[in-house]
Symmetry: C2
Subunit: 198 residues, 2 copies
Amino acid sequence: MTDADKRDRIIAAAYDVLSEKGYDKASTKEIANTAGVAQGLINYYFPSKDLLFAEVFRRETEKYCKSFDGLIVVDGKPLNIESISGLLEIPKSKALEEPEWFRLRYELFAIGLRNDAARETLKEMLDTKRKHISSSLQSITGLPPEQSDTFASVLYAIIEGLGLQKVADPTFRYDDAYGMLAEMLGAYYEQLIKKREL
Amino acid sequence: MTDADKRDRIIAAAYDVLSEKGYDKASTKEIANTAGVAQGLINYYFPSKDLLFAEVFRRETEKYCKSFDGLIVVDGKPLNIESISGLLEIPKSKALEEPEWFRLRYELFAIGLRNDAARETLKEMLDTKRKHISSSLQSITGLPPEQSDTFASVLYAIIEGLGLQKVADPTFRYDDAYGMLAEMLGAYYEQLIKKREL
DNA sequence: GTCTATAACAGGATAGAC
DNA sequence: GTCTATCCTGTTATAGAC
């Protein structure tokens, strides 16, 4: 963090403190310290703590979607266990490499489930992500949009749920779970193909 | 809530307030009001707020495991889309019928990911649940323990992840997602059977 | 735009009476 | 066991100087 706009520094600091301490314990004081600005400045840019965090979550969603953009399969290659495992590598590695990022999401999940304003933010976040994953899936599998949307929601659930188990417990057999997931997706995909051919 | 032991009343009230307000906003004052006892009494039974909530989470895990105990398939009936859908009905309905219960879990997920003491509680909770689901799966599918454990972790991830999407957004196509999940599991199970027969 | 200082309040935990 | 009263700390948001 160099000396970018102080507003940006505040958002970046909020991201860090929020993922480490959680919504309530993430005090504006600590955010200001981390950002290297006066506490009062936060309220100059953001009328309230809530609005600051809304901005943090907005950026998180953007980043999340971008992380899926590498998901493209070379044309002609069929989908099998190996290629599916390769595709899953990207979301899988995120929980290991950026656990703070991961924690941040669960923070929003928890808040969103109990606070009406945050629920709206959460709803949008989930919708944006689902749609993004869905469009990747369409280009990979050639499935129709509706089916892809549903598929995306299941996939998203698994990714977040397995990451949770891994971040909460380093001894969790994350690889095994992803291995089984790949097999499951492979079996399902094969079945879809067969049905389409009939 | 009649006039059971005041200690029990405190725990029950903590459950309610915690799932509604979240960890930090769930004040001992409000818990005391809800339970109809003096605030000081909470500290008589529980040296700290953390220990009170640890007890709440312990009970949640117990309840969760019990909720899976109805999951038994009539012997001889094969696993197909219909019977799998039937089995999934139980976890599926929980998010709709008891959203507070659901929120409570996400509360622990968020706290557990950032607090060392709570992480231990979370780890145990996840482990207990996985093992419980796994043993149900073993008796239903006849899969070996290790495979069932892995299966349980994937299944648990999906259940919580889909529930999140539904509770966060009532317009979410929850039925479609569970429908696809049943198909996925069916396809995977068929594949397992075939492999076993070779 | 940025800072310092402070107002206004709420939290958990404790002391001590009954 | 249970209550009331209080202490101490930490919080957000604002006021006002620079």
